[in-house]
């Protein structure tokens, strides 16, 4: 009896439907796989199973699924993809918690390189655009940093969790081919660096860049970003904070012609 259960257990499979694409300019297509179930599987381990035995549900041997991943613990953001309609990290998407068939596709907000690999380069461009750093480089001694209150630190800690995964861009209705919106995450990063006592020295520069074309103003308050963010970053609070900064900034600029 127990031997029989073991056999049934072994035959249990996971049904996956991928949206695949062979290259940046190729047409996307669907491909289904049934991979043997193991306890505590996640989407990455299911795809590794396909790598080991790249045979689709029709029994054809095909090229294994391509994806990106590094940390496998939801801190690098590389493995973001759309799983059952929601953009999220594959490494923390547990098969046991997903309804089957599991539908997996790339985050189409970004250019698809191959299968689930997308080019998130625009996020890096956005960070450069809004000057999301603190310029303290130099050879001379800058002295000790200013003291910071624990409350400030906690606020910034939340904002600093961003891993540029791209989920908030995928979730935002205003980030698409028709718009130049750089995305909610960039607003969070400006809030982070502007809130830093040393970073605040370059506050105006960042705010100025954030309200240039495709910036903060493109937010339409659907608030999907804060719901979708895997790190629970208070993105909408950051957006409203920067809206207040931008209001002040606008009047200051106007009154100092």
């Amino acid at each position: 009896m127990s031997e029989q259960t073991a056999v049934v257990e072994q035959q249990k499979t996971v049904h996956l439907i991928f949206t695949r694409q062979d290259g940046p300019d190729s047409k996307p297509y669907k491909e289904e796989f049934h991979v043997p179930y193991r306890k505590n599987m996640n989407i990455i381990s299911a795809m590794m199973e396909i790598q080991r035995n790249p045979v689709n549900s029709k029994g054809e041997t095909v090229a294994p699924i391509q994806w990106e991943s590094n940390c496998l613990e939801e801190v690098c953001g590389a493995c973001s993809m759309v799983i059952n309609g929601k953009p999220r990290q594959a490494c923390t998407a547990l098969v046991d918690k997903l309804q089957q068939p599991i539908r997996i596709g790339p985050m189409n907000t970004f250019p698809v390189v191959r299968d689930l690999v997308v080019n998130r380069g625009r996020m890096f461009d956005a960070l450069k655009k809004v000057k999301a750093w603190i310029p303290v480089d130099g050879t001379h001694d800058l002295g000790p940093a200013p003291r910071q209150s624990a409350i400030e630190q906690q606020w910034r800690y939340e904002l600093s969790k961003c891993m540029t995964c791209g989920v908030c861009l995928e979730a935002c209705p205003n980030v698409n081919d028709n718009s130049a919106f750089i995305g909610p995450f960039a607003v969070g990063q400006v809030t982070l660096f502007n809130a830093h006592p040393t970073g605040a020295l370059n506050k105006e520069e960042r705010t100025d860049a954030l309200i240039s074309d495709g910036g903060l103003q493109q937010c339409g308050n659907s608030q999907n970003c804060v719901q979708a963010c895997p790190k629970g970053i208070p993105l909408t609070t950051a957006i409203a904070t920067m809206n207040r900064e931008a209001t002040k900034h606008m009047f200051k600029k106007w009154l100092s012609f």
Binding site: G85, K86, A171, P173, N174, N176, N178, S179, A180, D208, A209, I211, S212, D213, G214, G215, L216, Q217, Q218, C219, G220, N221, S222, Q223, N224, Q227, A228, P234, T236, T237, I239, A240, T241, M242, N243, R244, E245, A246, T247, M250
Partner: protein, 218 residues
């Protein structure tokens, strides 16, 4: 230096939605609500408005141009969004979509409404406030028209109230989740109250007695 015209256009769109267009909406509902006190009160309210000096200038610069800017820039915003409520069925995402749908309904309604109650009147030689009251009553005595007006009123009030919620975020007045939640409730109440005023006015004009009273006044 970076280009900030996009920001200024968007902020102008947001501001004009409240001042003067939102303000005008409230004024318009206030004037029309006089109809519930009878034809007399409505005629008096209209005459009060008509006594404002330079009224055409006010109408063009305080209502028409700001509304057109808000409406057409609004359409541009509407068509640039890729709505995704089927993927993200949250309250705010629904509000986002409904804000856009009600904006379009409002635009269609305003064109029809201005045509019916304003442009067509211009064809008459200068109408009196009585004639205006009479015309409005005859337009709204048609139940189908009254229902369409009712839908448009609710849609416009929704757009204004949810727009106010979003205005407070866009200008950085309601920042945290708690402030935004309180604001949601405040604007839900405002939506109910303003809709009540609007619908009562339509019902007043729709009432056959209203037209009889206007005729009696003349």
């Amino acid at each position: 230096m970076s280009n900030q015209t996009d920001f200024l256009n968007r902020r102008l769109h947001s501001l004009l939605g409240v001042i003067p267009v939102g303000f005008f909406l409230l004024e318009h509902f206030y004037t029309n609500y006089h109809a519930t006190q009878g034809a007399d009160a409505f005629v008096e309210a209209v005459n009060f408005l008509w006594a404002i000096p330079l009224l055409p200038v006010l109408e063009i610069f305080f209502i028409f141009i700001p509304l057109m800017y808000h409406a057409f820039y609004g359409l541009y915003i509407v068509f640039r969004a890729k709505n995704n409520v089927s993927q993200f069925g949250t309250f705010r995402n629904y509000m986002f979509v409904i804000q856009r749908i009600t904006g379009v309904i409002t635009l269609i309604f305003i064109i029809w409404h201005v045509w019916q109650t304003r442009i067509q009147l211009l064809f008459d030689s200068t109408p009196t406030a009585h004639e205006l009251a009479m015309d409005t009553a005859s337009i709204l005595s048609n139940d189908v028209t009254a229902i369409l007006y009712g839908i448009a009123v609710i849609s416009t009030v929704f757009h204004f109230c949810n727009g106010m919620w979003s205005f407070l975020v866009s200008w950085g007045i309601t920042i945290g989740p708690r402030a935004q939640l309180v604001s949601t409730w405040v604007w839900i109440v405002a939506f109910v109250v303003i809709s009540y005023f609007g619908i009562s006015s339509i019902l007043a004009f729709n009432d056959p007695n209203f037209a009889i009273n206007v005729t009696a006044l003349q």
